[in-house]
């Protein structure tokens, strides 16, 4: 297959290749080009240019034929994507069509994918909470998975580094379990959220804080954000359409244009990575095989280092499909653990309630954020019959109270009146799940996709620990809401909501100290193929309770710094 025309090979040779252009791929691109490396970024989906390719961004509600609702035909054609909360008439074009991208669900797994330049960074929920040392110590303390090879002190400076550039709003809460970051001004909590926070401080002696969420929105941009061409968040809360103001962080608005400005970036959309090329004589990876999304033609590209940022499960897929006589079971997979110890966040359950106080107040405007309850279970020692714990989102609003029983003028008056109902609050659980060998992905032995890549087979499920955690969330949140005087408390749990719908899948290529029990070292290099770096969710040894993207960004920037130092030393 390779076409050994010297010029052609030269034109296909770079210093670095980045597979994927989502949150972590964008950071790889920015960092590597920033260090002067000629970098090829391969994106399997179409190009999406910031501002230009956000076709729905400025539409008013009445300009959508179905006011945002997905048509029945489209829903039926996309049973996976249509389970996602963000899949609406204004954003459907940023999700893959299910039929074009099949996978095999050995156990139900709702795999949400956005194949385009920017990936899911256009669609994410933008929560950005740091991990603490308590999170990194989890596996070692509680005896699951393997010990993390890094701790908070290793990652803290890189959190600061990415936060300053991405723009993270938040309040300095001084919590050991949720370290403060480099914050832009925080969003405001509503009266009811503040009240709940005060009540919890009183009833639980400050052990159950309720804080404003930290999120990737420019509440007050700094010069570094203006230099990216980004402006202040306009509180539209239409983020899933792509933000023409660059009000929230995405690869499209931030890292990719920054990388472009260096003159070192080559961005190739419509480029499906088939596998990584391993050279046995050199003992390292030399490039990647790419299938053109449209012509299906295969081309090889070469580089000295490769960053795999295809998003957790596709990173697993590419490595599993990178077979050679040295690595017959996938690149770097001597121990057979590649694709195993997949974890996710348990988002199955919610609780809602009402508050009869604060009748004389409302909120005004929109807030692309909510309050947040950091993990309080098993924080410093084991207290429950399940391992680890959960964080929870907490939001409040006051809706107009509309009597719709009548017809005619009475109904019309009631619809446009300003009578408000009680405050309503709701909270959703974000539960840590324990990575287990049985929760895995693998290649299907027979089926391939339209690009000749084997289909991914998912075998990931809830376990007893997850079920116990749901019961505890219901008990604890009910107690907390009751103590604060909330009424009409209702719990909701949907066991049919399969893993994956959290869009926080992690692991499969975990970091660790020992090559016998992990795939990556503390610098995110494959133990057995040091010039391949995995810095997306696939690298995660455990998943804790925080929204993970910020940690992927920090890990990526840290690994890129190390990669460049090693390159300069001639070690790669």
């Amino acid at each position: 297959m390779p076409f050994f025309n010297i010029d052609s090979v030269k034109s296909r040779t770079f210093d670095a290749i980045v597979i994927g252009s989502g949150i972590s791929g964008g950071w790889s691109a920015k960092e590597l080009t920033g260090y002067g490396l000629r970098t090829l970024v391969l994106e399997r989906g179409r190009d999406v240019k910031h501002g230009v390719d956000y076709p729905t961004a400025m539409k008013n509600p009445w300009e959508f034929p179905h006011l945002g609702q997905i048509s029945k035909a489209e829903k039926e054609a996309n049973p996976i994507a249509s389970q996602c909360y963000a899949y609406k008439e204004d954003s459907a074009h940023f999700f893959v069509k299910d039929a074009e991208h099949p996978y095999v669900q050995e156990k139900p797994f709702t795999w949400i994918r956005g194949y385009q330049v920017g990936g899911k960074s256009l669609l994410w929920a933008r929560g950005t909470q740091r991990w603490s040392q308590l999170d990194f110590e989890g596996p070692a303390r509680d005896g699951f998975a393997v010990e993390w090879p890094i701790g908070y002190k290793d990652i803290a400076p890189w959190y600061s580094y990415v936060e300053k550039f991405a723009g993270i709003s938040g309040n300095k809460d001084g919590l050991p379990q949720l370290p403060d970051g480099e914050f832009l001004p925080p969003h405001e909590q509503s009266c009811v959220e503040k009240y709940f926070s005060q009540q919890m401080a009183k009833h639980y002696n400050n052990s159950r804080p309720v804080i404003i969420g930290r999120c990737a929105h420019l509440t007050k941009p700094n010069p570094i954000h203006h230099q990216q061409g980004r402006g202040q968040c306009q509180n539209r809360v239409l983020c899933q359409r792509g933000c023409p103001y660059g009000g929230y962080f995405s690869s499209n608005s931030s890292t990719l244009p920054w990388a472009q400005k260096t003159g070192k970036l080559t961005l190739k959309p419509d480029s499906v990575v088939h596998s990584i090329i391993y050279d046995e004589k050199k003992g390292k990876a030399t490039g990647v095989r790419v299938v053109d999304a449209h012509t299906k033609e295969m081309t090889e590209y070469y580089a000295r280092i490769i960053f795999v940022n295809a998003a957790t499960l596709n990173t697993n897929l590419i490595l599993l499909n990178s077979k050679s006589s040295r690595f017959p079971n996938g690149l770097g997979n001597d121990n057979g653990l590649l694709g195993k110890y997949i974890s996710f966040h348990n988002f199955r359950t919610t609780i809602s309630a009402e508050y009869e106080g604060f009748q004389e107040t409302i909120t005004e405007g929109n807030r692309p954020n909510g309050s947040y309850i950091p993990r309080f279970r098993n924080l410093y020692k084991q207290e429950t019959d399940f391992l680890r714990g959960y964080a929870a989102g907490f939001g409040s609003s006051r809706m107009l109270d509309r009597d719709t029983t009548g017809f005619g003028e009475d109904l019309k008056k009631s619809l446009t009146g300003k009578k408000y109902g009680n405050w309503r609050v709701s909270s959703h659980m974000m539960g840590e799940t324990i990575p287990k060998e049985t929760n895995h992905v693998a290649l299907d032995s027979g089926l391939t996709d339209a690009w000749g890549v084997p289909l991914l087979k998912t075998s990931v499920a809830y376990d007893d620990n997850d079920e116990k955690m749901i019961v505890d969330f219901h008990e604890q949140l009910t107690e907390m809401l009751t103590l604060a005087g909330f009424t009409n408390i209702q719990t909701h749990d949907d066991p049919n909501k399969a893993p994956g719908i959290d869009i926080h899948e992690m692991g499969g290529v975990r970091m660790g100290k020992d090559p016998k029990t992990s795939l990556l070292n503390k610098w995110n290099q494959l133990h057995h193929c040091k010039n391949v770096f995995v810095t997306d969710g696939a690298c995660m040894t455990s998943n804790s309770t925080q929204n993970p993207s910020l940690t992927f960004m920090a890990i990526t920037a840290r690994a890129a710094d190390h990669a460049v130092k090693e390159l300069r030393k001639g070690n790669l």
Partner: protein, 161 residues
């Protein structure tokens, strides 16, 4: 340069034409006219436009056609027949020929019906009428102080009397 992201909206932002919402045609003109009178009875013209002027009946049709299943579509068709049957039974006229009080009486009767299909019909049309009305350009801009970009969030504001 520094605030480019704030002020420069691309040209396509103003290029949207509501006419491109596309045609709807599940009902013959007579039935569509009847549906228009039905939604107007639910939300009538007062000192502000009613549902018919705001073309909410077309929204109802589009939603039933595109987002609801065959059961709802049949229910809508059958319901419009029932609507005239009830009107004739009570007032010996077609629904379209009744005055406002009579029309409201017919709808109230349908809403209180023991027949699940009839109840489903009136609640389908009523809910979609309310949704279409409240999200119409006129209502959002003139009655709801709608702004796409408020630019702020205040968590605790005194309720205006």
């Amino acid at each position: 340069m520094a605030v480019a992201g704030l002020v420069a909206l691309p040209a396509w932002a103003s290029g949207w034409n509501p006419a491109t919402l596309g045609p709807v045609a599940v009902l013959p003109p007579a039935e569509e006219a009847l549906l228009a009178e039905l939604v107007e009875t639910i939300i009538p013209e007062t000192d502000t436009p009613g549902a018919k002027t705001l073309k909410v009946h077309q929204f109802v049709l589009r939603m039933v056609q595109d987002c609801y299943g065959e059961v709802a579509q049949n229910n809508l068709n059958q319901g419009l027949i029932t609507l005239d049957q009830v009107a004739k039974g009570a007032f010996e006229k077609l629904f379209i020929d009744l005055d406002v009080t009579q029309r409201t009486a017919v709808l109230t009767h349908l809403q209180q019906s023991d027949d699940p299909a009839t109840k489903a019909f009136i609640s389908l049309v009523k809910n979609l009428t309310i949704q279409g009305y409240l999200n119409s350009e006129y209502v959002l801009l003139n009655m709801m102080e709608y702004k796409m970009a408020p630019g702020f969030y205040h968590g605790c504001v005194p309720l205006k009397a």
